[in-house]
Protein backbone atom coordinates (compact mmCIF):
# COMPACT_ATOMS: atom_id res chain seq x y z
CA UNK A 1 0.00 0.00 0.00
CA UNK A 2 2.74 2.38 0.93
CA UNK A 3 4.34 2.06 -2.49
CA UNK A 4 1.14 2.75 -4.35
CA UNK A 5 0.70 5.88 -2.35
CA UNK A 6 3.84 7.30 -3.80
CA UNK A 7 3.57 6.05 -7.33
CA UNK A 8 0.20 7.44 -8.31
CA UNK A 9 -1.53 6.03 -11.32
CA UNK A 10 -1.37 8.25 -14.39
CA UNK A 11 -4.51 10.21 -13.66
CA UNK A 12 -4.24 12.55 -16.58
CA UNK A 13 -3.94 9.64 -18.93
CA UNK A 14 -7.13 8.20 -17.53
CA UNK A 15 -8.79 11.54 -17.95
CA UNK A 16 -7.76 11.50 -21.59
CA UNK A 17 -9.06 7.97 -21.87
CA UNK A 18 -12.42 8.99 -20.45
CA UNK A 19 -12.55 11.99 -22.71
CA UNK A 20 -11.90 9.91 -25.79
CA UNK A 21 -14.52 7.39 -24.77
CA UNK A 22 -17.06 10.16 -24.27
CA UNK A 23 -16.34 11.57 -27.68
CA UNK A 24 -16.64 8.08 -29.10
CA UNK A 25 -20.02 7.72 -27.41
CA UNK A 26 -21.37 10.93 -28.83
CA UNK A 27 -20.04 10.12 -32.25
CA UNK A 28 -21.58 6.70 -32.05
CA UNK A 29 -24.92 8.04 -30.99
CA UNK A 30 -25.19 10.71 -33.64
CA UNK A 31 -22.79 10.17 -36.48
CA UNK A 32 -21.94 6.56 -37.04
CA UNK A 33 -24.15 4.38 -39.22
CA UNK A 34 -25.04 1.44 -37.03
CA UNK A 35 -28.41 -0.13 -36.42
CA UNK A 36 -30.21 0.91 -33.25
CA UNK A 37 -29.59 -2.29 -31.38
CA UNK A 38 -25.90 -2.36 -32.15
CA UNK A 39 -25.65 1.24 -31.02
CA UNK A 40 -27.47 0.41 -27.86
CA UNK A 41 -25.14 -2.39 -26.94
CA UNK A 42 -22.01 -0.47 -27.89
CA UNK A 43 -23.13 2.59 -25.94
CA UNK A 44 -23.87 0.54 -22.87
CA UNK A 45 -20.52 -1.16 -23.10
CA UNK A 46 -18.76 2.18 -23.43
CA UNK A 47 -20.61 3.55 -20.43
CA UNK A 48 -19.73 0.54 -18.33
CA UNK A 49 -16.14 0.81 -19.45
CA UNK A 50 -16.00 4.41 -18.32
CA UNK A 51 -17.67 3.63 -15.04
CA UNK A 52 -15.22 0.82 -14.51
CA UNK A 53 -12.28 3.16 -15.09
CA UNK A 54 -13.61 5.64 -12.58
CA UNK A 55 -14.18 2.97 -9.98
CA UNK A 56 -10.85 1.29 -10.48
CA UNK A 57 -8.57 4.29 -10.66
CA UNK A 58 -10.27 7.38 -9.24
CA UNK A 59 -11.88 5.44 -6.43
CA UNK A 60 -8.72 3.34 -6.29
CA UNK A 61 -10.54 0.07 -6.07
CA UNK A 62 -7.69 -1.39 -8.07
CA UNK A 63 -5.43 -0.88 -5.09
CA UNK A 64 -7.80 -2.02 -2.39
CA UNK A 65 -8.10 -5.41 -0.82
CA UNK A 66 -10.78 -7.81 -1.80
CA UNK A 67 -12.79 -7.43 1.36
CA UNK A 68 -13.32 -3.75 0.62
CA UNK A 69 -14.03 -4.42 -3.02
CA UNK A 70 -16.66 -6.83 -1.86
CA UNK A 71 -18.67 -4.00 -0.36
CA UNK A 72 -18.73 -2.29 -3.72
CA UNK A 73 -19.69 -5.48 -5.50
CA UNK A 74 -22.45 -6.81 -3.23
CA UNK A 75 -25.24 -4.50 -4.41
CA UNK A 76 -24.59 -5.12 -8.09
CA UNK A 77 -26.12 -8.60 -8.38
CA UNK A 78 -29.11 -7.39 -6.37
CA UNK A 79 -29.61 -4.52 -8.77
CA UNK A 80 -29.31 -6.91 -11.67
CA UNK A 81 -31.79 -9.38 -10.17
CA UNK A 82 -34.37 -6.67 -9.60
CA UNK A 83 -34.19 -5.24 -13.08
CA UNK A 84 -34.02 -8.58 -14.87
CA UNK A 85 -36.91 -10.07 -12.94
CA UNK A 86 -39.15 -7.12 -13.63
CA UNK A 87 -38.19 -7.02 -17.29
CA UNK A 88 -38.93 -10.71 -17.86
CA UNK A 89 -42.55 -9.64 -17.71
CA UNK A 90 -42.15 -8.16 -21.17
CA UNK A 91 -39.84 -10.75 -22.61
CA UNK A 92 -41.89 -13.87 -22.13
Amino acid sequence: MAETRHAHPPYLLIWLYLFVLTVAEIALAFELPFSRNVKLILLLLLALWKAFLVAMFFMHLKFEKWNLRLIAIVPLPLALILVLAVITEHVW
Binding site: R5, H6, H8, Y11, L12, I14, W15, L18, F19, T22, E25, I26, L28, A29, F30, K39, L40, L43, L44, L46, A47, K50, A51, V54, A55, F57, F58, M59, E64, K65, N67, L68, I71, A72, V74, P75, L76, L78, A79, L82, V83, V86, I87, E89, H90
Partner: protein, 227 residues
Protein backbone atom coordinates in the same frame (compact mmCIF):
# COMPACT_ATOMS: atom_id res chain seq x y z
CA UNK B 1 -9.63 11.85 20.49
CA UNK B 2 -6.22 13.12 19.66
CA UNK B 3 -4.06 10.28 20.83
CA UNK B 4 -2.84 9.72 17.31
CA UNK B 5 0.73 10.74 16.89
CA UNK B 6 2.76 11.27 13.79
CA UNK B 7 4.12 7.76 14.06
CA UNK B 8 0.68 6.25 13.76
CA UNK B 9 -0.58 5.92 10.25
CA UNK B 10 -4.06 7.34 10.63
CA UNK B 11 -4.95 6.31 7.14
CA UNK B 12 -5.14 2.78 8.50
CA UNK B 13 -7.44 1.77 11.30
CA UNK B 14 -6.13 1.23 14.78
CA UNK B 15 -5.04 -2.38 14.92
CA UNK B 16 -8.31 -4.21 15.18
CA UNK B 17 -8.77 -7.44 17.07
CA UNK B 18 -8.65 -9.24 13.85
CA UNK B 19 -7.94 -7.45 10.63
CA UNK B 20 -11.25 -6.14 9.38
CA UNK B 21 -11.09 -4.60 5.97
CA UNK B 22 -8.03 -2.67 7.04
CA UNK B 23 -9.36 0.79 6.30
CA UNK B 24 -10.28 3.55 8.66
CA UNK B 25 -13.87 4.02 9.80
CA UNK B 26 -14.70 7.03 7.69
CA UNK B 27 -13.62 5.40 4.47
CA UNK B 28 -15.33 2.13 5.29
CA UNK B 29 -18.45 4.05 6.22
CA UNK B 30 -18.37 5.91 2.93
CA UNK B 31 -18.07 2.72 0.94
CA UNK B 32 -20.94 1.20 2.84
CA UNK B 33 -22.97 4.32 2.21
CA UNK B 34 -22.16 4.18 -1.48
CA UNK B 35 -23.44 0.61 -1.57
CA UNK B 36 -26.78 1.90 -0.39
CA UNK B 37 -26.62 4.70 -2.95
CA UNK B 38 -26.21 2.07 -5.63
CA UNK B 39 -29.51 0.58 -4.53
CA UNK B 40 -31.18 3.97 -4.48
CA UNK B 41 -30.16 4.67 -8.04
CA UNK B 42 -31.12 1.12 -8.92
CA UNK B 43 -34.66 1.93 -7.92
CA UNK B 44 -34.69 5.02 -10.14
CA UNK B 45 -32.64 3.79 -13.09
CA UNK B 46 -34.15 0.32 -12.88
CA UNK B 47 -37.63 1.81 -13.12
CA UNK B 48 -36.52 3.81 -16.13
CA UNK B 49 -35.20 0.71 -17.86
CA UNK B 50 -38.31 -1.26 -17.05
CA UNK B 51 -40.67 1.47 -18.12
CA UNK B 52 -38.84 2.18 -21.32
CA UNK B 53 -38.62 -1.50 -22.11
CA UNK B 54 -42.28 -1.95 -21.37
CA UNK B 55 -43.29 1.06 -23.45
CA UNK B 56 -42.12 -0.54 -26.67
CA UNK B 57 -43.15 -0.68 -29.42
CA UNK B 58 -44.13 2.93 -28.76
CA UNK B 59 -40.99 4.88 -29.59
CA UNK B 60 -39.15 6.97 -27.07
CA UNK B 61 -38.15 10.50 -28.04
CA UNK B 62 -35.02 10.34 -30.16
CA UNK B 63 -31.76 11.51 -28.65
CA UNK B 64 -31.08 15.18 -29.21
CA UNK B 65 -34.65 16.01 -30.08
CA UNK B 66 -35.82 17.28 -26.72
CA UNK B 67 -32.64 17.39 -24.68
CA UNK B 68 -29.71 19.43 -25.80
CA UNK B 69 -26.69 17.24 -26.32
CA UNK B 70 -24.05 19.92 -26.68
CA UNK B 71 -24.75 21.42 -23.35
CA UNK B 72 -24.86 18.10 -21.50
CA UNK B 73 -21.82 16.84 -23.32
CA UNK B 74 -20.04 19.86 -21.97
CA UNK B 75 -21.43 19.10 -18.54
CA UNK B 76 -20.21 15.54 -18.78
CA UNK B 77 -16.82 16.82 -19.69
CA UNK B 78 -16.88 19.14 -16.69
CA UNK B 79 -17.75 16.36 -14.33
CA UNK B 80 -15.00 14.14 -15.68
CA UNK B 81 -12.55 17.01 -15.27
CA UNK B 82 -13.73 17.53 -11.73
CA UNK B 83 -13.11 13.89 -10.98
CA UNK B 84 -9.56 14.23 -12.20
CA UNK B 85 -9.01 17.39 -10.23
CA UNK B 86 -10.40 15.66 -7.17
CA UNK B 87 -8.08 12.73 -7.51
CA UNK B 88 -5.25 15.19 -8.14
CA UNK B 89 -6.08 16.91 -4.89
CA UNK B 90 -5.89 13.58 -3.15
CA UNK B 91 -2.60 12.70 -4.84
CA UNK B 92 -1.13 16.08 -3.88
CA UNK B 93 -1.92 15.75 -0.22
CA UNK B 94 -0.72 12.16 -0.20
CA UNK B 95 2.56 13.51 -1.48
CA UNK B 96 2.48 16.20 1.17
CA UNK B 97 1.76 19.14 -1.08
CA UNK B 98 -0.99 20.95 0.84
CA UNK B 99 -1.03 23.98 -1.37
CA UNK B 100 -1.53 22.09 -4.56
CA UNK B 101 -4.25 20.11 -2.87
CA UNK B 102 -6.17 23.27 -2.09
CA UNK B 103 -5.89 24.43 -5.66
CA UNK B 104 -7.17 21.17 -7.08
CA UNK B 105 -9.95 21.06 -4.53
CA UNK B 106 -11.04 24.53 -5.51
CA UNK B 107 -11.04 23.53 -9.15
CA UNK B 108 -13.25 20.60 -8.27
CA UNK B 109 -15.68 22.74 -6.38
CA UNK B 110 -15.88 25.19 -9.24
CA UNK B 111 -16.48 22.46 -11.79
CA UNK B 112 -19.16 20.94 -9.60
CA UNK B 113 -20.88 24.25 -9.01
CA UNK B 114 -20.82 25.00 -12.72
CA UNK B 115 -22.34 21.63 -13.41
CA UNK B 116 -25.21 22.41 -11.09
CA UNK B 117 -25.60 25.85 -12.61
CA UNK B 118 -25.77 24.43 -16.10
CA UNK B 119 -28.26 21.85 -15.00
CA UNK B 120 -30.48 24.50 -13.51
CA UNK B 121 -30.22 26.39 -16.78
CA UNK B 122 -31.08 23.23 -18.68
CA UNK B 123 -34.12 22.62 -16.51
CA UNK B 124 -35.49 26.13 -16.89
CA UNK B 125 -34.89 25.91 -20.60
CA UNK B 126 -36.69 22.59 -20.88
CA UNK B 127 -39.61 23.66 -18.77
CA UNK B 128 -39.86 26.82 -20.77
CA UNK B 129 -40.15 24.80 -23.95
CA UNK B 130 -42.78 22.63 -22.39
CA UNK B 131 -40.92 19.61 -21.07
CA UNK B 132 -41.95 18.81 -17.54
CA UNK B 133 -42.26 15.80 -15.22
CA UNK B 134 -45.73 15.01 -16.46
CA UNK B 135 -44.73 15.13 -20.11
CA UNK B 136 -45.03 17.83 -22.77
CA UNK B 137 -47.07 20.72 -21.45
CA UNK B 138 -50.21 21.21 -23.41
CA UNK B 139 -50.02 24.06 -25.90
CA UNK B 140 -46.28 24.37 -25.52
CA UNK B 141 -43.76 24.40 -28.30
CA UNK B 142 -42.74 20.80 -27.61
CA UNK B 143 -46.30 19.55 -27.48
CA UNK B 144 -46.92 21.01 -30.92
CA UNK B 145 -43.74 19.54 -32.33
CA UNK B 146 -44.67 16.20 -30.87
CA UNK B 147 -48.13 16.39 -32.36
CA UNK B 148 -46.63 17.06 -35.76
CA UNK B 149 -43.85 14.42 -35.50
CA UNK B 150 -45.06 11.81 -33.04
CA UNK B 151 -42.25 9.35 -33.68
CA UNK B 152 -39.08 11.41 -33.22
CA UNK B 153 -40.60 13.18 -30.24
CA UNK B 154 -42.01 10.01 -28.71
CA UNK B 155 -45.45 11.50 -28.30
CA UNK B 156 -46.92 8.32 -26.84
CA UNK B 157 -44.24 7.99 -24.18
CA UNK B 158 -43.78 11.64 -23.30
CA UNK B 159 -45.27 11.16 -19.85
CA UNK B 160 -42.80 8.44 -18.95
CA UNK B 161 -39.99 10.39 -20.52
CA UNK B 162 -40.66 13.40 -18.35
CA UNK B 163 -41.20 11.35 -15.21
CA UNK B 164 -38.01 9.37 -15.50
CA UNK B 165 -35.83 12.15 -16.88
CA UNK B 166 -36.60 14.64 -14.16
CA UNK B 167 -36.49 12.10 -11.36
CA UNK B 168 -33.16 10.61 -12.34
CA UNK B 169 -31.30 13.72 -13.31
CA UNK B 170 -32.94 15.65 -10.49
CA UNK B 171 -31.67 13.25 -7.88
CA UNK B 172 -28.29 13.17 -9.50
CA UNK B 173 -28.23 16.95 -9.42
CA UNK B 174 -29.20 16.83 -5.78
CA UNK B 175 -26.25 14.56 -5.11
CA UNK B 176 -23.91 16.90 -6.94
CA UNK B 177 -25.20 19.79 -4.89
CA UNK B 178 -24.63 17.88 -1.68
CA UNK B 179 -21.16 17.06 -2.94
CA UNK B 180 -20.36 20.69 -3.67
CA UNK B 181 -21.55 21.74 -0.25
CA UNK B 182 -19.53 19.08 1.53
CA UNK B 183 -16.47 19.84 -0.57
CA UNK B 184 -16.77 23.45 0.40
CA UNK B 185 -16.82 22.36 4.00
CA UNK B 186 -13.74 20.22 3.40
CA UNK B 187 -12.09 23.14 1.63
CA UNK B 188 -12.67 25.39 4.61
CA UNK B 189 -11.16 22.78 6.84
CA UNK B 190 -8.25 22.55 4.43
CA UNK B 191 -7.73 26.30 4.71
CA UNK B 192 -7.60 25.83 8.45
CA UNK B 193 -4.82 23.31 7.96
CA UNK B 194 -6.72 20.24 9.04
CA UNK B 195 -5.21 17.95 6.44
CA UNK B 196 -1.70 16.67 6.18
CA UNK B 197 0.25 13.93 4.52
CA UNK B 198 -0.33 11.82 7.62
CA UNK B 199 -4.00 12.50 7.94
CA UNK B 200 -6.07 13.46 4.93
CA UNK B 201 -9.05 11.21 5.53
CA UNK B 202 -11.58 13.91 4.71
CA UNK B 203 -10.08 14.46 1.29
CA UNK B 204 -10.02 10.82 0.39
CA UNK B 205 -13.56 10.20 1.57
CA UNK B 206 -15.17 13.18 -0.09
CA UNK B 207 -13.28 12.10 -3.19
CA UNK B 208 -14.91 8.70 -3.09
CA UNK B 209 -18.33 10.31 -2.93
CA UNK B 210 -17.50 12.68 -5.73
CA UNK B 211 -16.22 9.98 -8.04
CA UNK B 212 -19.33 7.96 -7.35
CA UNK B 213 -21.50 10.87 -8.38
CA UNK B 214 -19.42 11.15 -11.52
CA UNK B 215 -19.84 7.46 -12.15
CA UNK B 216 -23.60 7.71 -11.87
CA UNK B 217 -23.56 10.56 -14.31
CA UNK B 218 -21.58 8.54 -16.80
CA UNK B 219 -24.32 5.94 -16.76
CA UNK B 220 -27.11 8.51 -16.81
CA UNK B 221 -25.61 10.50 -19.63
CA UNK B 222 -25.46 7.43 -21.80
CA UNK B 223 -28.84 5.96 -21.06
CA UNK B 224 -30.80 9.20 -20.85
CA UNK B 225 -29.21 11.41 -23.45
CA UNK B 226 -27.61 9.10 -25.98
CA UNK B 227 -29.83 6.06 -26.24
Amino acid sequence: MAHATATVDVMRPPAPAERGVDVYNLKLGMWVFLASEVMFFTALIGSYIVLRFGASPNPWAQPGKVLSIQITAFNTFLLICSSVSMVKAYASIADGNVKLMKVWLLVTILCGATFVGIQVYEYTHLIHHGFQPSGYREGSELAELAAANPVPYGAATAGLYGSTFFTMTGFHGFHVTCGVISMTYVFIRALRGKYSQQDHRGIEVIGLYWHFVDLVWIILFTIVYLI
